[in-house]
């Protein structure tokens, strides 16, 4: 293992290994994955760049505290399955996180190499290890041999629910995940496109959880099919975790938003991803193929939508965003990929009206130019409309990707569940406990729209808290006299 003996200087001399990807003008015509992944040699070389700091700072940048230097050391030693096991001590879905985490804002941001050098490509290494494991037989995952009879209900099969379930099942709990749609994965299946996260990978991960003993119930809407109270009562669950995501698309409430050809990002992406509209008529769900597509918004969802539209055959696909590119919440990599693929960026622009053709289909997005004012509460400069600057962008398909509010389906049907004024469920810090005894929550339904890994972190925090609750049977309100014991 001479590689391990490289000097610090030698390590720093190795350039950051680029991610092999499909050429832009080929990939913008197909739905195959953009990033092709490292091979073993490239992965080892990249892993050798890690200085194996005595006090690693990268771990602080990871919402689930993956033991990053440890797994990278195993890659250097070519023990790839061992590296996968090491990651899975903290993160059960590395093949997902290695693809969709904003590492540049997390672990790679706090890597000591960043600044003078480029940070270690931790995300790409995580992805390599996970893919290697999937292709070369499964690493063993420790599942508690003693099963207890405690039933836990997880509502929603997105990132927070999957993460919560994976911990609890390892600790011996009897875990059931309830999903409203007919397939599992939440935003990972309906939202994130095939070219960023292949469905086969997600299905593999979910199948793994099933093998570990997690029960999966599709077509089950908590709040409709059964309420939270019924789960806790007659159905015999001792705790419920609500990881239902932020699933209520925002619109701008401007004229013409209900014209034909105007979609929410959720609808557009769900038709294509979950319902496979790109296979129409092989698959039954249709989608309008736009020639001139306008996507409103600057987040990752907007990038997913605009790149999807391009792949479906759009002649022009344009991002319309009200601030400048600096303020865009999308990952740099996604913006970069989008530009390579020929996406047009129309920043400092905000639509004010959509105009229809004679048949009622959208044909024009009327927009205003924007300027930037003082930074707002979130530190980003606020967009200010420039009066009289109206101009038209031709558009036969418009996708509104300006974010999601919280879906009130559960809060409306669950007494004693406190929400804030935006409808987000209120939890006590870190442990995910809601105002209702035995009910926990995490992910976007608590935080508002955020990232996959933050949701997973919240799911795991809640898992620990659920374990503690079941072992102690203590709830904060028990002592304050707020008696909600069921």
């Amino acid at each position: 293992m001479s590689a391990i003996l490289l000097s610090k200087k030698e390590r720093m001399a190795i350039p950051r290994q680029p991610m092999p990807e499909q050429p832009p003008l080929i990939r913008n015509r197909n739905f195959n994955e953009v990033n092709l992944g490292y091979d073993a040699e490239t992965a080892v070389r990249e892993a050798q760049r890690c200085l194996d700091c005595p006090r690693p700072t990268c771990i602080d940048g990871c919402p689930v505290s993956i033991k990053i230097p440890d797994f990278i050391r195993l890659i250097v030693a070519r023990d790839f399955l061992g590296a996968a096991r090491k990651i899975k001590e903290d993160n059960l879905l590395p093949s997902v996180c290695g693809r969709v985490c904003p590492q540049e804002e997390q672990c790679e941001k706090t890597c000591v190499l960043k600044g003078k050098f480029e940070p270690v490509s931790i995300g790409r290494l995580e992805r390599f290890v996970a893919d290697y494991e999937r292709q070369h037989g499964q690493a063993q995952i420790a599942v508690s041999a003693t099963r207890n009879a405690k039933k836990i209900a997880i509502v929603g099969s997105g990132p927070s629910g999957l993460a919560c379930a994976s911990d609890l099942v390892q600790w011996g709990y009897d875990v059931t995940i309830f999903e409203a749609l007919h397939e599992f994965g939440g935003v990972l299946i309906y939202g994130i496109p095939e070219f960023r996260l292949p469905k086969a990978i997600l299905k593999y991960e979910i199948e793994n959880l099933r093998c570990m003993g997690v029960r999966f119930e599709a077509n089950f809407i908590v709040g409709k099919t059964m309420t939270v109270d019924e789960l806790l009562g007659p159905a015999g669950f001792v705790a419920v975790f609500l990881g239902v995501g932020a699933g209520l698309p925002w619109f701008m409430n401007i004229p013409g938003e209900n014209l034909m050809g105007v979609y929410s990002a959720n609808e557009f992406l769900t038709r294509v991803n979950l319902m496979r509209a790109y296979e129409f008529p092989e698959a039954d769900t249709p989608i309008r193929i736009g020639k001139k597509v306008v996507v409103v918004g600057g987040g990752n969802t907007a990038m997913d939508a605009v790149r999807t539209a391009k792949r479906l055959g759009a002649e022009s696909a344009t991002i319309v965003y009200r601030r400048s590119e600096v303020e865009m919440p999308a990952r740099i990599e996604e913006v970069h990929h989008a530009k390579e693929e020929g996406i047009i960026f129309q920043t400092l622009t905000n639509p004010v009206e959509f105009i229809a053709d004679e048949q009622g289909w959208v044909k024009t997005a009327r927009c205003l130019q924007m300027g930037l004012g003082e930074p707002g509460a979130d530190g980003r400069r606020r967009p200010i409309p420039i009066q009289g600057s109206e101009f038209d962008i031709p558009a036969d398909l418009v996708v509104m990707a300006i974010g999601n509010g919280s879906n009130p389906l559960i809060s409306r049907t669950t007494a004693d569940l406190q929400c804030n004024k935006w409808g987000n469920i209120i939890v006590s810090d870190k442990n995910g406990r809601t105002s209702k005894r035995g009910v926990f929550a995490g992910g976007d339904i608590v935080s508002g729209g955020a990232t996959v890994i933050l949701a997973m972190g919240a799911g795991r925090d809640a898992a620990r808290s659920i374990d503690e609750f079941i072992k102690t049977n203590q709830w904060e309100s028990d002592t304050t006299g707020d008696n909600t014991i069921v």
């Binding site: 059931t176 409203a180 749609l181 007919h182 309906y190 086969a200 299905k203 593999y204 199948e207 093998c211 029960r215 999966f216 119930e217 599709a218 077509n219 089950f220 809407i221 409709k224 099919t225 059964m226 699933g247 209520l248 698309p249 619109f251 409430n253 938003e257 209900n258 034909m260 050809g261 979609y263 929410s264 959720n266 609808e267 769900t270 038709r271 979950l274 319902m275 496979r276 296979e279 129409f280 008529p281 092989e282 698959a283 039954d284 769900t285 249709p286 309008r288 048949q359 009622g360 879906n407 009130p408 389906l409």
Partner: protein, 309 residues
């Protein structure tokens, strides 16, 4: 545990969504009784399910006609119009639905209004039936006006007669009941001294719009049940949005019933036709290459399932 066929199973590998009974009650209109105990237990008048017929099928909303909590069965009545409903109507007793989820939407607001009129067109009569029953049970005098194109397409008349105080039937071609439209009957009823206190209309959009215009001058509370294109049915996609009272609503979670006098019908009519060209293509394939549009190839399902592990 490989799944051996396209039969949907629950977490214990038990078959789900068995069609306990299926029969045509009129040309292209089929009644299904489906084993769905959890939905049956919760179903209330006015609510709907979303179903899929095969693994690449679209999700379509269908109104629940009856929820039998004792036997754990829901009754649906389906008119074969689009590809999915035609495909659904090929299913027989003993077959399985690929997916069914619900109950969705808000239940009809039921109270003792006094005199209630339930107006239904075509397959809408099946949807109006549970509401008529509930209105009657709440103490209303209930009048039913059933409309259909022709005699053979009049459905649920006996069931309506069993619960309503008065039942009128109209057919477009005059082959049964009164010739003409349901609105002709409504017009007569509105000339009576005792005006209705509540009107519900379920059926084709022009009919519902016609009813709305007729009751508007009398300021009679009128509700219509909208049938939008939906995907998830839980408010996630927003595809079903409509404008009611100048505001955007989501039919799946805010409805499906809305104040008829506030609804922007022309917008709904346009949005319903968004995919009519796609629908033609799908139906064409169903008619000319039924194997391609059907899913019965179980082999591919087994392969796709086992390749995951």
């Amino acid at each position: 545990m490989p799944r051996l066929s396209s039969i949907p199973v629950n977490q214990w590998n038990r078959p789900m969504n068995l069609i306990l009974h299926a029969e045509f009650i009129a040309p292209d209109i089929k009644k299904f009784v489906i084993d769905a105990p959890l939905i049956a237990r919760k179903a209330q008048p006015g609510q709907f399910v979303i179903l899929r017929v095969w693994e690449k099928g679209e999700r379509i909303p269908i109104t629940i006609v009856d929820g039998d909590a004792v036997n754990g069965a829901v009754t649906l009545i389906v008119q074969g119009l689009g590809k999915t409903t035609r495909q659904m109507n090929l299913l027989k007793t003993g077959d399985y639905l690929h997916d069914i989820v619900g109950p969705l939407g808000q239940a009809t607001h039921i109270e003792n209004f006094g005199l209630a009129v339930c107006i239904s067109g075509g397959v809408g009569t099946a949807e109006a039936l549970p509401i008529a029953k509930a209105l009657k049970a709440a103490g209303n005098n209930v009048i039913s006006i059933i409309g259909a194109r022709q005699k053979a397409l009049v459905i649920c008349e006996a069931e309506m007669r069993a619960v309503c105080d008065e039942v009128f039937v109209t057919t477009d071609d005059g082959s049964y009941g009164q010739p003409g439209l349901v609105t002709d009957v409504l017009k007569t009823i509105l000339t009576r001294e005792r005006k209705p206190d509540f009107v519900l209309a379920v059926g084709p959009l022009p009919m519902m719009q016609g009813v709305a215009e007729m009751t508007r001058p009398f300021a009679i509370k009128t509700m219509v049940s909208l049938n939008s294109i939906m995907i998830d049915g839980t408010g996630m996609c927003g595809g079903c949005r409509a404008t009611v009272g100048g505001k955007t609503v989501f039919v799946c979670v805010d409805g499906p019933e809305f104040d008829a006098h506030q609804v922007n019908f022309s917008e709904i009519a346009r949005r319903q036709k968004q995919f009519s060209e796609h629908e033609k293509i799908s139906i064409d394939i169903l008619n000319t290459q039924p194997d391609k549009a059907q899913h019965q190839c179980r082999l591919s399902k087994v392969i796709s399932d086992t390749s995951l592990t």
